[in-house]
Symmetry: C2
């Protein structure tokens, strides 16, 4: 009955190839939506473009409909936009994540150590 201990955890959505959506991936999607490109999104969260690109590729491959649409060339070199499926993926994950956080807090109170 001490409050020195608390439950912690990680949550992700697993798809056909392994991890589909996790905390970092969803933040990345939000940053892409905000900045309009994978590279700017990666820079904004101090992630290498290489890694960010791989994550996006992994999500797109595992999603029925791509979550990110990309284009190369043009006035600003190209960019990336979230699709409707991308927006929904973000909502879907955060919804489960909220419930998870609630579970952790509630269940922490019942810890008998």
């Amino acid at each position: 009955m001490s409050n020195n201990y608390r439950l912690h955890g990680r949550l992700w959505i697993e798809g056909p190839e392994g991890t589909f959506l996790g905390y970092g991936r969803v933040v990345l999607l939000e940053r892409i939506r905000e900045h309009g490109s994978i590279s700017a999104a990666a820079r904004s969260m101090e992630m290498s473009y290489r890694h960010a690109w791989k994550l996006v590729d992994s999500m797109n491959r595992q999603s029925l409909h791509p979550v990110v649409e990309k284009s190369t060339g043009g006035r600003f070199g190209g960019g990336a936009r979230l699709t409707k499926a991308g927006d929904e993926a973000i909502d879907c994950f955060w919804s489960a994540y909220r419930d998870f956080k609630r579970f952790l807090i509630d269940r922490s109170r019942q810890l008998d150590l």
Copy 2:
């Protein structure tokens, strides 16, 4: 509404110094109880003795009462036994872990992707 996606996660109990109990640590405690020594327990789960020892040390330091009692020397070189606090720690974690698994399964059904 596809069943191609499932929630996965990890759960652990955080104490004063960081991780106190997690899946691997609890299995280690069970193996120590079963085999009577840290080294035999580590071998049984293909973990280095070094690592196993560190985990036990971390748990003992963070627990009000030690979870493992150790002795050196003697007929069989020494050994390790679980204390009552150790048994209780195991039960405490598995109990939360069961609830967590239930949460993952239940919440997976509500995933709308």
